[in-house]
């Protein structure tokens, strides 16, 4: 079944200017999100996950810039639009859920006001209808007695409730694409579980695509249809959740899986990936993972040439010289 694409990122390159020098933060990133699909973008801090979301939202900080590639949301290339046109896409077509629910709501305005404002902007309804709809959306995200919540200020709500309010706000604009930047990191595990199942349910209800940023592989396992693994601004592996989890090919992905504590096994060992994550200013020739990769010595190409994406099985792509060699 071919579903409609809501987000199609192709060959995205982005740079950050630091002290008058430009450093590449995203290198040839491509992936797509279909309706009713959750794509998880996984990687360590600094690998470019958040920058990717900011590129899509058009909210890169002033010193960042997309140099080439295209970001198509519902068939429109955002990189070709003016800032004001991109603004019209935000909220309406794509909504973003933030990592820190504690700081993502204006502390001096009531929940009701903030919801209403958003509804009036995107759904063009009057105040009364907006209030009614706000109650509906709060109910939808599982908030008990929404009427009284509307009159409260953010500080009167717990983290989980605030995240729900934020989700309600994003949903109320009926976006086709939901971007969630580690929405569960700041929540405790039980609330995390609730929020994840809420997102999963809403995805089906709204027939929206979700781009989910996380470094928590447990969350990935729970929610992802497709997984994109980033390392130092490059895509190293992409595939369906089953493919990536059951049969990780890239040494980095394999390392990530090993670094997750497994409570089911008797030996409780975490195997870390050796070495340090490279700094943005560091230049690494060849595969960016080669200084930390166990197989670099066996393969002379790793330090010389950047590996190309290779389809190892339908829908499962890996960028690694070793995998390529083994396949041949």
């Amino acid at each position: 079944m071919e579903r409609e694409k809501v987000l199609d990122v192709k060959n995205l390159y982005a740079v950050f200017k630091i002290q008058k020098k430009e450093y590449e933060v995203l290198h040839d990133i491509s992936f797509d999100v279909h309706r009713n699909e959750t794509v998880c973008i996984v990687g360590e801090s600094g690998c470019g996950k958040s920058v990717t979301t900011l590129c899509v939202m058009g909210l890169l900080p002033k010193n960042g810039r997309v140099i080439s590639g295209s970001i198509e949301v519902d068939g429109t290339d955002l990189t070709k639009l003016s800032a004001n046109e991109v603004r019209k896409f935000r909220g309406k077509k794509m909504g973003m859920i933030f990592q820190e629910p504690m700081t993502a709501l204006n502390p001096l305005l009531t929940i009701g006001y903030q919801l209403r404002e958003n509804l009036m902007l995107h759904r063009l309804v009057d105040k009364k209808t907006a209030d009614k709809m706000a109650v509906e959306y709060l109910t939808k995200v599982g908030i008990a007695n929404p009427e009284s919540r509307l009159k409260q200020y953010p500080f009167q709500l717990s983290g989980g409730l605030r995240q729900r309010v934020l989700i309600a706000m994003v949903l109320s604009a009926q976006p086709d694409l939901l971007i969630a930047d580690e929405p569960t990191t700041a929540l405790d595990v039980t609330i995390q579980k609730q929020v994840l199942s809420l997102l999963n349910g809403l995805k089906k209800d709204m027939n929206a695509g979700i781009m989910f940023i996380t470094h928590d592989l447990g969350v990935v396992a729970e929610i992802a249809d497709k997984v994109v693994v980033l390392y130092a601004g490059r895509k190293v592996e992409e595939g369906s959740a089953q493919q990536v989890f059951n049969d990780p090919r890239h040494p980095y992905t394999v390392g990530l899986m090993k670094a997750v504590p497994n409570v089911d096994k008797d030996e409780f060992v975490i195997e870390p990936i050796p070495g340090m994550f490279p700094n943005i200013t560091e230049e690494i020739p060849g595969c960016r993972f080669n200084p930390r990769c166990a197989y670099t010595k066996q393969c002379p190409l790793c330090t010389k040439e950047a590996p190309e994406m290779l389809e190892v099985e339908p829908g499962h792509f890996v960028a690694c010289h070793l995998v390529k060699e083994n396949a041949q």
């Binding site: 603004r87 933030f98 001096l108 958003n118 409260q152 706000m169």
Partner: protein
């Protein structure tokens, strides 16, 4: 849970502080006296009476020259000091509030723009720096000299004088607020820049604005008194605190009370506003919260 607005919480906290409460009450009494000056001081403030010149006030009741209807005495032209004090206060307070308000509106406008748009920042703030380089009184004198002496022009001068300090403080606050995640969150929901500035940033800058405004009112009252004292503020014979002190200079040794009485009025008003502003800052400034 009961709905609580931050303004109400702020007032509750304010009244928990004794000094702030005292200042607040003093100012309220002063406002009532001054606003209803015609009731509390029915004598015409500009009525001269050479026969009753330089009458002493209530502190010298034994003096045969004391007249109970002039309980604060009379000045060198026989005008009732109490009446001039209240009616003069009308001018002082009006100028203080109006000038602060005008300065606040423009200062906030420039401050918001400079803080939010990096491109405008340098242009606006360098212009504010130019205004800042003039010593306040000198700038006001310059403006009055250009526009001519009148109460309105003095108000304009004091307003312009107030703009840069507002702009600078608010710009600083905006730079801080801009970094907050809720601003990014609102952006991500598709809000326009105008709406973000006009609603979300402004409301978060409000505590700062209230505090500076309170402090600034004191400054403006002092400024109009200074200008009147120098003879470029409120034109005679209109009563005004600074002007009262100025005209009493000649009688300084014969009747020092003519300087002391309006002087005390200025001091009380200014100190009360400053203390109130200071306490408000403690209450409203999120950076100083315990």
């Amino acid at each position: 849970m009961k709905r609580e607005s931050w303004i109400r919480t702020a007032f509750q906290k304010l009244f928990r502080n004794k000094l702030a409460t005292v200042c607040f009450v003093i100012l309220i009494i002063e406002f009532i006296l001054i606003i209803f000056a015609d009731k509390f001081a029915p004598i015409d403030p500009n009525l001269t009476n050479v026969a009753d010149r330089l009458r002493p006030g209530f502190w010298d009741k034994m003096n045969p020259k004391y007249m109970p209807e002039h309980w604060l005495g009379t000045d060198e032209l026989g005008r009732d000091v109490w009446s001039r004090l209240l009616h003069g206060g009308q001018v002082s307070l009006a100028v203080g509030f109006i000038a602060t308000f005008i300065g606040l509106v423009f200062g906030t406008f420039f401050g918001l723009l400079a803080g939010y748009y990096k491109r405008l920042d340098n242009i606006i703030m360098r212009f504010m720096d130019v205004l800042f380089t003039f010593p306040g009184v000198l700038l006001a004198l310059l403006i009055v000299a250009m526009l001519g002496v009148s109460t309105r022009n003095a108000t304009i001068a004091i307003s312009i004088w107030a703009i840069p300090s507002f702009a600078r403080m608010i710009r600083g606050r905006v730079l801080q607020i801009k970094q907050e995640e809720y601003i990014t969150a609102i952006q991500s929901l598709g809000a326009t820049n105008f709406w973000i500035i006009a609603k979300h940033i402004l409301i978060n800058a409000m505590p700062t604005i209230i505090v500076i405004a309170t402090m600034r009112i004191a400054g403006s009252i002092l400024s109009i008194a200074t200008l009147s004292f120098l003879g470029v503020g409120v034109p005679v014979p209109q009563a005004e605190w600074g002007g009262m002190i100025s005209s009493a200079k000649t009688q300084m040794y014969k009747a020092p009370n003519l300087i002391i009485v309006p002087g005390i009025a200025i001091i009380i008003t200014v100190i009360c506003f400053n203390i109130l502003g200071d306490k408000l800052r403690d209450i409203l400034d999120p950076n100083l919260k315990d």
